[in-house]
């Protein structure tokens, strides 16, 4: 099948929806597939990491126990996990739009940081001038606009010249990260501090917390964003237009769609959500941007969105576990004297095993045809 060979994120989706629609009669049972692509790889990844842990002389069960205890079974840990999800969810929304429409937006880090910096620069200044909700609204809106603006060059090049957006968005991302840091140091610097950082939004003026917990309500907005995007892409005519451009631009042209305009819309929406993600981190949790701060969430989320097969609910579940892993392993590493970076080993083996699971599944399905 030629579509499988295209370097087009939409092609993965095609494989997925082809499999979904075929029904159980022609495919292996859903349970078997679930084992191959999800449970099996996760177990394999934890075993692999366990071996590495044993090699460095750490009891893997203790390590995994700490992770669970810290991230899921302690109230505070669970709250931290939930809070960490917010920016990741906005990024999922951003990437679901892009990937379903066949666009590789790899520049979310730059869009995220510029959105964050703009939100951090404006919101503290508006406190007292505008009511609290309006401050947040302005912060979020500006972040979305700035994120979208940062994608204009790759968008125009892709839409009208066919320039590969993988390269242009990545390049713009590097520029965006550096520009954000420069803006913090030179333009938006808080004169009251010695370390270069923006003015800080007082805790009271940040996104409200949920009930009596420390969970930022950014979580709710993130969930809403992912679900809305999912519905938009699967249930509306606009979403179908975007998906059609992603799946087969020639067919889209044939059906009378304007491929360049829809490409521009995809970039704008995707980058806008990346900007919102930055704002949610600042206006919900951090309150300011320090110079050289770059959590690089964007690249982290890409594999999750792929593994969820661009499905909103799947992405939410994966983001939850991923956040838990991040929060839990930080603490486990500290308590056991394992280097902090071991988290990355665990995450990396997880991604490799999940990727292998997909590969095996793909081959088995091919054989069945």
């Amino acid at each position: 099948m030629t579509m499988k060979n295209k370097t087009n994120p939409g092609s993965v989706d095609q494989g997925a929806s082809a499999a979904d629609a075929a029904g159980p009669a022609t495919e292996r049972s859903a349970l078997q597939r679930f084992l191959t692509v999800t449970i099996g790889p996760i177990v394999a990844a934890f075993l692999l990491s366990a071996i590495i842990l044993m090699l460095v002389g750490i009891n893997p069960l203790t390590y995994y126990g700490y992770i669970l205890e810290r991230s899921l079974f302690s109230g505070l840990g669970l709250e931290q996990t939930a809070t960490r999800m917010a920016p990741l969810l906005f990024l999922c929304a951003s990437l679901i739009i892009a990937f379903r429409a066949g666009i590789w937006n790899l520049g979310t880090d730059g869009q995220f940081l510029l959105g964050a910096v703009v939100a951090a620069a404006t919101a503290p200044l508006l406190v007292g001038v505008l009511p609290g909700w309006a401050v947040l609204l302005v912060g979020f809106s500006l972040a979305a606009i700035v994120g979208a603006v940062w994608s204009i060059i790759p968008a125009l090049l892709k839409a009208y010249q066919g320039v590969n957006e993988i390269i242009t968005t990545l390049m713009m991302s590097f520029l965006g990260v550096l520009l954000a840091s420069t803006l913090v140091k030179l333009v938006f610097r808080d004169p009251a501090t010695t370390v270069p950082q923006t003015r800080t939004l007082p805790v009271a003026d940040r996104l409200p917390r949920l009930f009596d917990t420390t969970i930022s309500s950014g979580l709710i907005w993130g969930l809403v964003a992912v679900l809305l995007v999912h519905l938009m892409m699967t249930r509306t005519s606009f979403g179908l237009r975007l998906r059609m451009v992603g799946a087969n631009p020639a067919a889209a042209t044939h059906a009378g769609l304007s491929v360049p305009l829809l490409t521009l819309a995809t970039f704008g929406l995707s980058a806008g959500f990346a900007g919102l993600s930055g704002a949610s981190e600042i206006l919900g949790v951090a309150g300011n941007v320090r110079a050289n701060w770059n959590p690089a969430y964007g690249l982290m989320v890409i594999p999750l969105v792929f593994l969820a097969r661009f499905h909103g609910v799947g992405a939410i579940v994966l983001v939850f576990f991923y956040s838990a892993l991040l929060i839990g392993s930080e603490s486990a590493a500290r308590r056991l004297g394992v280097p902090q970076d071991f988290t990355l080993v665990l995450v990396a083996s997880l991604l490799i095993c999940l990727g292998l699971g997909e590969y095996i599944d793909h081959h088995k399905r091919k054989k069945e045809r």
Binding site: M1, Q14, R235, G256
Partner: protein
């Protein structure tokens, strides 16, 4: 070089066994027989022309000689010995060099580097020897190449010379030129013709593939005509010598486009044309570039209930015409009217709403989105339109119902409407697309090669449907490369060649006479004849 020093006299072509023999070769691809029981023999000292339309099997035959494909049945011989060309290098070792239609040179390397590509890696390229041999080639064959020029900066004609020089440097015995003149200017083609004559005088065998009739006569010593994978006829040097160009072209046209003996003559459809004109095209032109042929001054009109056939060898602007009518290709000039209303500037969607429908020939990569279910594919041209969407929100049940109706009405064979359309056979995809184009209020349907690649039964059904559409009073533009189809269905036949309409002929049932006349026009020969007559 050894070959150049031999005199032409001791190279008289022997009868029977040539340097390469092709014996009863058949090659099948899924759904098609590309080459069907073809036997040829290639002689040194001859320019052997393989002539045929696109899809006649020329390229597959070349592929087998070049070692890219192996025959399913039959075998090849080299100087009388049965042989297998299992890989391109086996073919090269056997002394067969192929110059493909699209350059196989590395554009960023110099001419010298390209000439020495493929030599053993441990040897230093013998610069002095190559320079000396290039001098000989220049003297013998007028191949003049700047060795240190960057290949990509040279003209296409010069790039072709590099490939020929590369073949000669390898001491090839057979040189295959695949559609070698298609990229050249008329003057460049003449030069190539003269060069081929020199090469065969030097003792080489040249296989020259083309679909241009005049070239075949002028450059060829022997002509083999392929038609739908089979050898339709051969004209040896003796035959050709006795004919004038006109006679030869007539004979070739008969071989290429004539009805094979035994095939039943299709019944001519009774015309259902009405008085009112539904589609009027005046002086339509589009811009072309190096890859896409432009259209020039096309004028057509179509009555309701009429089928206007568009004949032509594939790639002579038919697709561009269809796209220009559908609104997918911008006009450089001219007017398109539907029911008297100017739609020259209307978008694809606007034209569709006015009743203009276009059934593309590219069912898989343009007509449908393979991974989307059939149901979505049936409404891809109506995205956002009621009743399938209300306020932009999809109504999956209405779409599914619509798809089920279409599946029933057009007897699409599929497990359900949720099956991805890419899983269906070509004929069933075609039915879905036809159903999509006919839904709503259609006035004019443009069919582009509607039966191409279908099996016999589906071809019959499709043709019946087209006739039925016309009898309902819709105007039909039927683009096809199948003359039988056009002659069975059309009221009139417009013949396209080189992006122009060469003439519009009434399908008066004169059968063979009309067929040959169309054949000549398709080959671009008619005008010359008229000029001389």
């Amino acid at each position: 070089m050894a070959l150049a020093t031999e005199t032409p006299t001791n190279l008289s072509p022997q009868k029977g066994t040539g340097i390469i023999g092709v014996h009863g070769v058949t090659k099948r691809f899924p759904g098609v027989i590309a080459v069907n029981n073809v036997s040829l023999s290639i002689h040194p000292g001859e320019v052997h022309v393989l002539l045929g339309e696109n899809g006649a099997g020329k390229s597959t035959l070349v592929g087998m000689l070049a070692g890219l494909q192996e025959p399913d049945e039959g075998y090849l011989t080299l100087e009388g010995q049965k042989t297998r060309l299992a890989s391109p290098s086996a073919s090269l070792d056997a002394g067969i060099s192929t110059v493909f239609q699209h350059s196989m040179l590395v554009p960023t390397l110099t001419v010298f580097e390209n000439l020495t590509l493929g030599a053993p890696w441990y040897e230093r390229p013998p610069r002095a020897a190559i320079t000396q041999r290039m001098e000989e080639l220049k003297r013998d064959f007028a191949l003049s190449l700047p060795l240190d020029a960057i290949t990509g900066e040279l003209s296409l004609g010069q790039q072709q010379q590099i490939e020929i020089a590369r073949a000669l440097l390898r001491d090839s015995k057979v040189l295959i030129l695949d559609e070698a003149t298609s990229m050249l200017t008329p003057q460049g083609a003449e030069e190539l013709g003269a060069r081929m004559q020199k090469l065969v005088q030097g003792g080489l065998a040249v296989i020259f593939i083309t679909h241009k009739l005049a070239e075949a006569y002028r450059f060829g010593t022997r002509i083999s005509v392929l038609k739908q994978g089979a050898l339709a006829g051969e004209m040896g040097p003796e035959d050709l010598r006795g004919m004038s160009e006109d006679q030869a072209v007539d004979e070739i046209v008969r071989l290429m486009f004539g009805r094979e003996a035994g095939a039943a003559s299709a019944e001519l459809r009774a015309s259902t044309a009405r008085a009112e004109t539904v589609l009027k095209v005046t002086d339509l032109s589009t811009r072309g570039d190096s890859n896409v042929m432009g259209l020039q001054n096309i004028s057509l009109d179509l009555k309701a209930g009429e089928i206007l056939g568009v004949a032509g060898i594939d790639g002579n602007g038919q697709k561009q015409l269809a796209e220009a009518l559908a609104g997918q290709r911008a006009l450089a000039g001219g007017r398109v009217e539907i029911d008297g209303e100017d739609i020259s500037l209307a978008s694809v969607a606007q034209r569709r709403r006015k009743g203009l429908r276009y059934l593309t020939d590219d069912r898989l990569s343009e007509g449908s989105v393979g991974a989307f279910p059939i149901s979505e594919n049936t409404v891809l041209k109506d995205i956002g339109q009621p009743p399938f969407w209300t306020n932009g929100i999809e109504r999956p049940h209405r779409i599914a119902q619509h798809a089920r109706d279409l599946i029933a009405k057009f007897s699409v064979r599929t497990p359900s409407e949720t099956t991805p359309i890419g899983r269906l056979s070509g004929g069933n995809i075609q039915k879905v697309l036809l159903g999509r184009e006919l839904s709503g209020d259609a006035r004019v349907v443009v069919f582009n090669k509607p039966t191409y690649g279908l099996d016999l039964q589906n071809i019959d059904t499709s043709r019946q449907r087209i006739a039925e559409i016309a009898s309902r009073g819709l105007g039909v533009v039927l683009i096809s490369t199948d003359l039988d189809e056009l002659m069975a269905l059309s009221d009139r036949i417009a013949v396209m060649e080189g992006g122009r309409v060469r003439g519009i002929l009434r399908n008066d049932g004169s059968g063979e006479v009309l067929r040959l006349r169309i054949g000549r026009m398709m080959a671009g020969e008619e005008e010359q004849k008229q000029a001389t007559a």
